[in-house]
């Protein structure tokens, strides 16, 4: 169960932690998490304003530490895939939030020209091999990317990010087995937010110790509490560097999905008491308190930063609203390579049939 899984750390801070202060990346991790949180809040606003393409928007609020902590150890040339709740991961890897928001609005200026949307954002330039709306659909690609990295001796790792729900998919186990068998530079990151839509993890598996499965296949495997982004980052550093050296890994990050599955879901299947406790497992608030507590930042400095981020993310909405829809003819583009002929429109085919005398 969720309760048992997470240490009851609400309200505590990490003062007195070994190594606190010197060389900490906490300010940077906090900034990344705050940007994710604020971006996701603006995605919610875009929907409320009727400016999003549809309502299948999955916010990663509550799970920012997984994105920030793992991505802190990725470098140029590394690649990754995400699930449908992947906005935060992409932001943590350096995405332009305005182009992301425009994609979520289905606009031409978006990362995928309005073809993909929230669940299919990608940017090959940043190593993002694609977000996926098929649960588990993006996982095996990292095995292929691992083969590529080995073949070309690039030293790159490839990371699959997915939810606890994807642990129900056989393809995860096929992929982990291959990665372990061939010693590929792959990392499997399971963001365990306790729910797959309305199904609690305990209702989806008899053994919620997810890392044990990966260990059984021969991967380095850990579970970490997502409340503490530094703990996530430490585990990620170990596992990512291990993967680079040929020991593939699995990391489960325990957290809580603060809001509904998608924008229209009010989570009626969750106990309000549980929700309240879950939302207290807030990695952003936890990191903020730790920064102040350790004297790394003052409250007013952080307020200023938060305001700055607020303005940055407000601008993504203004940008999106001002953008145009993709032109209708663009729908035939990119079915095949640009040098190949586009599919012939149905209207053109009908014209030919009817032109016959």
């Amino acid at each position: 169960m969720y309760e048992a899984d997470l240490r009851a750390t609400a309200g505590q801070t990490m003062a007195g932690r070994v190594g606190a202060g010197a060389n900490t990346r906490l300010p940077e991790l906090y900034r990344t998490m705050r940007r994710i949180r604020t971006f996701e809040e603006r995605v919610g606003e875009l929907f409320v304003r009727g400016q999003s393409a549809g309502s299948m928007l999955h916010l990663s609020i509550g799970e920012e530490s997984a994105a920030a902590g793992v991505c802190a150890h990725l470098r140029d040339g590394d690649s990754f895939t995400t699930h449908h709740r992947g906005h935060g991961i992409f932001l943590a890897r350096g995405a332009d939030p305005a182009r992301m928001m425009a994609e979520i609005g289905g606009k031409e200026a978006g990362y995928c020209h309005g073809k993909g949307g929230s669940m299919h954002i990608a940017d090959m330039g940043l190593g993002h091999l694609g977000a996926n709306a098929i649960v588990g659909g993006g996982i095996p690609a990292v095995v292929g990317a691992g083969l590529s990295a080995r073949h070309h001796k690039t030293g790159a790792v490839s990371v699959a990010f997915f939810g606890d729900g994807a642990t129900g998919q056989g393809i995860l186990y096929e992929s982990m087995n291959m990665a372990a068998l061939w010693g590929l530079p792959c990392v499997f990151v399971c963001i365990n937010n306790q729910y797959g839509m309305g199904t609690n993890i305990a209702q989806a598996t008899a053994n919620p110790n997810l890392h044990e499965r990966a260990a059984a296949f021969g991967l380095a495997a850990e579970t970490v509490d997502g409340l503490d982004v530094e703990a996530v980052a430490e585990a990620a550093e170990r596992l990512v560097e291990g993967a680079r050296a040929g020991k593939p890994a699995f990391l489960a990050v325990s957290c809580y999905r603060f809001y509904g599955h998608a924008r229209k879901d009010k989570s009626p299947y969750r106990d309000p008491v549980e929700e309240e406790a879950g939302r207290r497992q807030d990695p952003v608030a936890f990191a903020r308190a730790a920064l102040i507590d350790r004297g790394l930042e003052s409250e007013s400095e952080l307020d200023r930063l938060d305001t700055e981020i607020g303005s940055e993310m407000d601008a993504t909405i203004d940008f999106t609203v001002a953008q145009t829809e993709p032109p209708l003819a663009s729908m035939f583009r990119d079915v095949y390579a640009p040098e190949e002929p586009e599919p012939e429109p149905v209207r053109a085919r009908i014209d030919r049939v009817l032109a016959r005398d």
Partner: protein, 331 residues
Amino acid sequence: MALQELTYRDALRKALADAMTENPDVVILGEEVGRYGGAYGVTKDLIKEFGAERVIDTPISEPAIVGAAVGAAMTGLRPVAELMYVDFIGMTMDQLANQAAKIRYMFGGQIGVPMVLRTQGGTGRSAGAQHSQSLEAYVMHTPGLRLAMPATVADAYHLLRMALTKPDPVVFIEHKALYTMKESVDLDAEPLDWGKAAVRREGRDLVIVTYSRQLHYCLEAARTLSARGIEATVIDIRTLNPLDFDTIRAHVERTGRAMVVSEGVMTAGVAAELSARITEECFDFLEDPVVRVAGEDIPISVSTALEAGSVPGPQLIADTALRMLAGRVPA
């Protein structure tokens, strides 16, 4: 004998509830079918009525959901498996096409697989490339599988009830844009037989053959055409397998013109099959080539404009019919 206002969703739910009441061996299994009540609400509260042993929430494991339904059907249960989106059918294709569809035949007729696979497809929600497809052709292309696609509230009820009496696997594809459609229906009225097409409108000038949501677009187009002096017959095939070609043939022979309308992509799709069949079997009666109005040969975009542009609508259907009959009617 009473008329009642029902939505397509309500009718499906009632069909499941009635079947479960009548037959204790009917069980439902799928993702979010129980406590959540189904991603589109079709199984809402059935778990309260029939319990968690008959309304079974599964992990996100599509191949095993379908495969478990196959085994259950072979051993005395009457399973209704649910795939949240037809787009996931590819993941289950081995269980569906190599197992469910072939077991009766491979094993020399010893046993059938009386299961229903309920799912939904189509555009209309900006759900993007992996949640908006019309994949009925995959199913129709697989001998051994039956295929029903209800377009009306009454059919949602009756076709599902009938599917649950069939000896072979039935794939039952709902349309996501129809769930909230309301109709006044009398569910006690004698339903059309399974495998019989419904002639939704009769007219002398051409036949439009269609199914699922496109039926409503075709009827809308037929009203537009009627105002322009063209009268169309609109046939809703309801079950794609078995296919009632006799009804199609009779009307094509009478009018001499046929258009086939489908939301699925045009190439090698259901419209292609219907068009080929009409051309082959009604050749001597046709005044014009059979025209297909179907989905573009492209994936579906999340952009609402591109999404709507990717599939037929009433205007394209009406325009095409007008052009087919150009010169034959007053301009």
